[in-house]
């Protein structure tokens, strides 16, 4: 999905200028005086966040944190880990009651230890009222019952990336909108020598992204509303058969792909379509030798399947405070500060479409319209379902996704290791245990 070695290609943009201007500093001070959360005396925070993929996003983030420190006197120590390593560290912190005060991770991280998270309902209510409300999926990710256990900061959209010239060559005037058309598209591009590829290895982001989309697109669900396991169904079988047909028309080797393979392959011109964040486009735009690819690519929503509505799964990045922190008020102040328009607008601009807001008011940010190729990523928070599917988004859904139960089921069937019935039965057994 993202390439770490490309993250430094992007220098801080104009957005950084806004965050470091003196007028901004005064706004931050005024904010600190009127904000409902007064940091404890002598408060110091440490936060572990996922490692940035777009350098300018991190620059803007650091500038925002500096402003917070200047305005409130609260020092914030930021450490960064590869996004897959945040969860194990947060889990250990939750288990031992020691470690960073705040964690900014992905998916349903707070639901792995809901009772260890500071109740941030007041922060979420404050932001929701001020900025046009939260999207549905964001609420599901951040709430445990009626209580908010995290603040859903943003999504990282996972949509189709495709080469425009290859699409035209395959006889399509626009990217397919339905699953049937998409299969035809895969066949046509492969026949032209421009195959695409979707990761079938243990790729937490891209692999799960398209697998859950495919399952839901055909009406399959791993659990129902009451968390009863329903994976073994004719709908799932249809999804498996469709995925295999797609797989047979992809570039060989996708079963070994992790999250970064499709980026590499797309940027090298080896594949003509894949599912990804906007990072391929950002990397291609900044690299003069890849300009041809940047000019020739575009993004599209994931095609809609027989269920007739979008069934996308995007990466959620919630930030949470651990209840072992000595400074819960400072944590809440920082969370609210991060999502105030004066901070959040320049920050998502700096992220160049990589990150999408969960607060409706930010739809108006010019980042989404300045470059029309980014526009589809604006809507991911509204289109996203949660990793729980129809069921709860709690620790069980998190365990199912972390253990790659659904992904392995698809991979086993697509590679011919298991037939559909067996693949579903194995997944059913694993899910039954996770959801007991």
């Amino acid at each position: 999905m993202m390439m770490i070695d490309r993250r430094r290609l992007l220098a801080g943009g104009a957005a950084l200028g806004v965050l470091s201007s003196s007028g901004f500093g005064e706004w931050a001070k005024a904010w600190a005086q009127t904000a409902p959360w007064k940091p404890e005396a002598g408060a110091q925070l440490s936060m572990l966040r996922w490692k940035y993929f777009v350098q300018s996003e991190d620059d803007a983030f650091v500038a925002m944190i500096d402003a917070f420190t200047k305005a409130t006197g609260v020092k914030v120590n930021i450490s960064r880990e590869s996004y897959e390593d945040v969860q194990p560290k947060a889990s250990v912190a939750a288990n031992t009651g020691a470690g960073p005060d705040m964690f900014w991770g992905l998916y349903s991280l707070p639901h792995l230890f809901p009772q260890k998270c500071v109740d941030v309902t007041d922060v979420a209510d404050y932001l929701g009222k001020k900025y046009g409300g939260w999207t549905d999926s964001a609420q599901q990710y951040a709430k445990s019952g009626d209580k908010w256990i995290a603040v859903p900061v943003c999504y990282s959209g996972n949509l189709m990336n495709y080469r425009v010239s290859h699409m035209k060559k395959a006889g399509f005037s626009e990217f397919p909108k339905t699953t049937d058309e998409f299969l035809e598209y895969a066949k046509a591009t492969k026949a032209n020598g421009n195959p695409g590829g979707l990761a079938l290895g243990h790729a937490s982001g891209d692999g799960n992204g398209w697998i859950y989309w495919c399952l839901w697109a055909f009406g399959g669900n791993h659990v129902d509303k009451n968390d009863k396991v329903t994976i073994n169904s004719p709908e799932t079988e249809k999804a498996l058969i469709y995925a295999k047909a797609l797989y047979d028309n992809m570039i060989p080797g996708t079963v070994a792909w992790n999250d970064s393979f499709n980026n590499k392959a797309f940027l090298a011109g080896e594949i003509s379509w894949t599912n990804n964040g906007i990072s391929i486009y950002v990397a291609a735009s900044k690299d003069p030798s890849k300009k041809e690819i940047a000019d020739d690519m575009n993004h599209a929503y994931m095609p809609v399947g027989p269920v007739g509505k979008p069934t996308e799964l995007h990466l959620m990045y919630p930030v949470l405070a651990m209840n072992h922190t000595k400074y819960p008020q400072a944590c809440k102040a920082l969370m609210a500060f991060m999502l105030e328009a004066q901070n959040f607008n320049p920050w998502i601009e700096a992220a160049q479409g990589y990150l999408t807001h969960c607060l409706n008011a930010y739809d108006a940010n010019p980042v989404w319209t300045a470059d029309p190729k980014r526009t589809v990523y604006r809507d991911v928070a509204k289109r996203s379902l949660t990793a729980g599917g129809q069921g709860s988004v709690g620790e069980k859904a998190a365990a199912a996704i972390a253990d790659f139960v659904i992904l392995d089921m698809f991979a086993a069937y697509c590679t011919g290791r298991e037939d559909a019935k067996n693949a579903m039965r194995i997944a059913e057994r694993q899910l039954t245990r996770i959801y007991r």
Partner: protein, 317 residues
């Protein structure tokens, strides 16, 4: 003075020498106290985590929440889990093949390096390189070598006109298994070669001289002198090698994450995936605990291998 009075005077004196002073002079008692620091260290850092791990495997502990005792439920579940058995097979296959190849090539290299040759010291240093490079770095290098689109191997063979398309190193079940085994062997050989070389150098040249005079050929010299004298070192080095291979984690995690379709998942990686990523500590601990019998067997084989070598004490040669 009466006898009674005499006895009364001697008795207390005798009691003093018996208990405390005798204990103080007792070498075993003193020895015990000298051992305490080492023992405390072992208990704290080895025994306690091990016992805790075994205990966790009998609970349904999840991350962030202590579990309750569930007996052998985790093991029962694993017994019926086809993925688990696939992983056990992978681990045994990986360990067996990699260890045998590492031993054969390592011994061969050690014998070569023991010969007289120019730049001997430098060649020995070069052989160590795969062992010196951090595992994660060499794994990343292999990750590129095995890439399904950018592999240098595929590229070279394609340009030589030997193959049509790219080799699907990590995407095909068996290709992936052989690929990770190759990477492990590459990394493990220096350890075995250098350790066996050290052993070879302790073999007295006079034995070879005597054998040569007796008319032994080079195979016989290897079979009846080198091999028997090397056996204790082989036993130690192979135990370590088997243990390291059996518990391998980094290489697999970087190269395949256990894919494709769990074909290269080892017990260590599955345990991590289920316990830390999936949050199911109890089940992960059960997978780790299931490794113990295998490791114990490896240690026992080596231990008895060492014990049998009575010739070490000069009884039989």
């Amino acid at each position: 003075m009466s006898d009674d009075a005499m006895v009364a005077r001697i008795k207390p004196a005798r009691r003093e020498t018996t208990s405390w002073e005798r204990l103080k002079a007792n070498r075993n008692w003193l020895g015990f106290w000298f051992m305490v620091p080492a023992m405390a260290f072992l208990i704290l850092f080895l025994a306690y985590p091990l016992i805790l791990g075994v205990w966790l495997s009998f609970t349904d502990a999840r991350i962030g929440r202590p579990g309750v005792f569930v007996g052998i439920e985790n093991y029962e579940w694993l017994a019926g889990d086809t993925n688990f058995w696939l992983v056990v097979f992978n681990t045994l296959f990986y360990t067996l093949v990699a260890s045998v190849v590492k031993f054969a090539v390592g011994l061969y290299l050690a014998l070569l390096l023991n010969e007289r040759m120019p730049f001997k010291a430098m060649i020995r240093a070069v052989v160590l390189i795969p062992f010196i490079v951090p595992t994660v770095l060499s794994a990343i290098a292999f990750w590129w070598i095995y890439d399904s689109q950018f592999s240098i191997v595929s590229w070279s063979l394609r340009n030589l006109g030997l193959i049509e398309g790219n080799i699907n190193f990590l995407g095909d079940t068996w290709n992936a298994r052989w690929s990770v085994i190759f990477a492990n062997v590459w990394r493990g050989i220096p350890f075995i070669a250098i350790t066996l070389l050290a052993g070879l150098q302790t073999v007295s040249p006079s034995l070879y001289e005597a054998a040569t005079i007796d008319g032994a050929n080079s195979w016989q010299r290897f079979r009846y002198i080198t091999y028997p004298l090397l056996t204790p070192i082989i036993a130690v080095v192979m135990t370590f090698s088997v243990l390291f291979t059996f518990t391998d984690f980094q290489l697999i995690w970087v190269l395949t994450r256990g894919g494709p379709v769990n074909a290269t998942h080892l017990m260590a990686t599955l345990s991590y995936q289920r316990a830390i990523l999936g949050g199911n500590l109890g089940e992960g601990a059960a997978i780790s605990t299931a490794m113990i019998p295998f490791l114990f067997a490896a240690i026992m084989i080596s231990w008895f291998g060492l014990q049998r070598r009575k010739w070490q004490q000069g009884e039989d040669n």
